[in-house]
C-alpha cells in the first residue's frame, strides 16, 4: 500500500514485515548546465507538492484518471532529484532493504529498457535501498548520470520520445519491492551476531487535456546535463526480493498553468539558476561510497540527446540560463542513517 504523507510517497508492505517500507520524495533543485562537462550533485531546494489525482477527477482527461497515482507541478526546464529512505528495525536500527524501479515515460532510468513488471538483473533495472540514497537522472555511464529535466511531452525531448518515437505516457513511474521476510530475518540474525562479536572484542565505555483550458501538454522528463553519480550494483542478488508484494505508482507531471487549473493552488516559485547559486558562493555535493560497486551505464540511455543537443537539432533554445558554472564541492559519505545524508544534500554548506 502507498500513502501520501507530507508530500512523500510511503510504500508499506505490512503483509511482509512491519518494518518493510520506504519513502520517496521529489526534490526541487538547480538545473545543472547542459554543456557536456560533468558536474557534482546540486542541492535540494525542498519537496515538490504531491496530490492525489483522484481529487481532481472532474478536471482531468479520462486517460489520466485511469492511471491513478499522484500529480505534481513542475516548470518547463526545471530539474528534480529523487530521495529515498527505508524503514528500520526497532531493536538494532537495521534498515529493511527495498528494491525500487524508476521510469520516465515508461522507460527505465537505470537500464534504458521499456517498462516491464518485476525486477531484472541483466541488465539491472532497479536501485537498492538504503545503499542508493538518491537518484538525480538517467544512468548513462558508470558513475555518470544525465539530470532529469522536465520538458513538454510531444516536443521531442523526452527519453520516451527519443527511444520509442512516441509521446504517450510522460510522467514518472515507480515500483517498490521489499526484501523477502525470511531473508531479512537472516540478515538481522547475522547482524545481531556480528554486534555480539564486536561487543565481546571491545566492550563499550560506560556511561508530484483537462476539461478547463490550460496548455494541453503534459510534462515528461528528458536528459539534461551530466552529473557524477554512481548507481550501485545489487549487493544481495535478485532472489532476495519479494516480487509478489510489490507496489507501484504513476506520477503525473503538470506544468504551472496545468497545476493551477487542476488544483487551484499556486505552483512553487521558479528555482534559482546554477549561476545565481554559484554566485552566492554555495557548494554542490559529491557522494562517495567505497563499499559498493557501481553498475555500467545503459547503452540505450547513453545514446540519448541532451535537451540542449536536441534543441540544436530542432533549431530551438529550450534551456534558458545554461551558462557553465564552477562551484565549490562538499563531499558526502554514507552515514549511519540516510536522513543525515539527505539533510546534507538538502541543506547546503555545513
Amino acid at each position: 500500500m502507498i500513502t501520501l504523507e507530507h508530500d512523500q510517497l510511503t510504500f508499506r508492505f505490512p503483509d511482509v514485515h512491519a518494518d518493510a517500507r520506504c519513502s520517496i520524495e521529489f526534490q526541487r533543485t538547480l538545473r545543472i548546465p547542459d554543456d557536456d562537462r560533468t558536474y557534482y550533485l546540486p542541492p535540494g531546494l525542498g519537496r515538490f507538492p504531491l496530490r492525489h489525482l483522484d481529487d481532481f477527477e472532474d478536471r482531468l482527461k479520462r486517460e489520466m484518471v485511469r492511471r491513478g497515482g499522484v500529480v505534481m507541478p513542475i516548470h518547463q526546464a526545471e530539474a528534480l532529484w529523487i530521495s529515498f529512505d527505508v524503514g528500520y528495525d526497532e531493536r538494532f536500527r537495521h534498515p529493511y532493504p527495498v528494491a525500487v524501479k524508476i521510469a520516465t515515460g515508461k522507460i527505465c532510468a537505470i537500464s534504458g529498457q521499456p517498462w516491464e513488471e518485476g525486477l531484472s538483473q541483466d541488465p539491472q533495472n532497479y536501485v537498492v535501498l538504503p545503499e542508493q540514497p538518491w537518484l538525480d537522472g538517467y544512468c548513462v555511464e558508470e558513475g555518470v548520470i544525465r539530470q532529469f529535466v522536465a520538458m513538454p511531452l510531444g516536443d521531442g525531448y523526452t527519453a520516451e520520445e527519443q527511444l520509442t518515437g512516441e509521446a504517450v505516457h510522460g510522467g514518472l513511474q515507480i515500483a517498490a519491492y521489499p526484501m523477502k521476510r525470511k531473508v531479512f530475518d537472516e540478515l538481522l540474525r547475522r547482524y545481531e551476531e556480528s554486534l555480539a562479536d564486536e561487543m565481546r572484542r571491545s566492550p563499550p565505555p560506560d556511561g508530484f487535456d483537462m476539461v478547463c483550458s490550460p496548455p494541453a501538454k503534459e510534462m515528461g522528463l528528458a536528459p539534461g546535463g551530466r552529473m557524477r553519480q554512481e548507481i550501485y550494483d545489487d549487493p544481495h542478488g535478485l532472489d532476495v526480493w519479494d516480487q509478489e508484494h510489490g507496489s507501484r505508482c504513476f506520477v503525473t507531471m503538470a506544468n504551472s498553468a496545468q497545476w493551477m487549473a487542476i488544483t487551484g493552488e499556486h505552483p512553487p516559485t521558479v528555482p534559482p539558476t546554477a549561476r545565481q547559486y554559484a554566485k552566492a558562493g554555495l557548494p554542490w555535493f559529491d557522494y562517495y561510497d567505497a563499499d559498493h560497486e557501481a553498475i555500467a551505464g545503459a547503452e540505450e540511455l547513453a545514446g540519448l540527446k541532451s535537451v540542449k543537443a536536441m534543441g540544436q537539432k530542432l533549431g530551438k533554445s529550450p534551456l534558458p540560463e545554461n551558462e557553465s558554472s564552477g562551484v565549490p564541492v562538499v563531499v558526502l559519505k554514507p552515514k549511519a542513517t540516510t536522513q543525515a545524508s539527505h539533510a546534507g544534500k538538502g541543506e547546503g554548506p555545513c
Binding site: 500500500m1 501520501l4 492511471r67 497515482g69 539527505h342 541543506e347
Partner: protein, 117 residues
C-alpha cells in the same frame, strides 16, 4: 514536556556519533534558533518550541513531524484545520479508531490508487 527534550537530545547525539554536523550548535543554526535555547529545550528547562520550530527540528533529525509535535503536546495546525472544517465527522472517526490496532487504522487510511498504465 521533559520527554520531548530528552528524546530530541538522544536522537541528535546518536546522529552526532557518526556525523559532526549534528552538534548542538550546528543543529541549532540549521533549525534557526540559538544554541543556548536548543540546549534548554533538550534539558526540559523551557517548554517545547513553536510548531514551526518543532517541525524543523523533527525534519532535521529525520523524525516524523507529527510524532514530534505530539511529544511537544501539540497538534499540527493543518490537522486542526481539517477537524475544524468537519468537526463532528472527524471527532467521531478519531474516537471510533481510538482503540483500533494499527493494521485496522491502515485499512481506513487513504491509499494512493494504482490504475491502468
Amino acid at each position: 514536556m521533559p520527554q520531548f527534550g530528552t528524546t530530541a537530545r538522544q536522537i541528535r547525539e546518536r546522529l552526532r556519533e557518526s556525523d559532526r554536523r549534528f552538534s548542538l550548535r550546528q543543529v541549532a543554526r540549521r533549525v534557526g534558533v540559538e544554541p543556548a535555547y536548543l540546549s534548554k529545550i533538550e534539558r526540559g528547562v523551557v517548554a517545547p518550541p513553536s510548531e514551526a520550530t518543532t517541525v524543523r527540528l523533527a525534519r532535521e533529525l529525520g523524525q516524523d513531524p507529527d510524532v514530534f509535535l505530539a511529544m511537544a503536546g501539540k497538534v499540527s495546525s493543518d490537522l486542526q484545520e481539517i477537524i475544524r472544517k468537519r468537526p463532528k465527522l472527524f471527532a467521531d472517526l478519531i474516537r471510533q479508531l481510538r482503540e483500533a490496532p494499527d493494521e485496522a487504522i491502515f485499512r481506513v487510511v487513504r491509499v494512493v490508487r494504482d490504475g491502468d498504465w
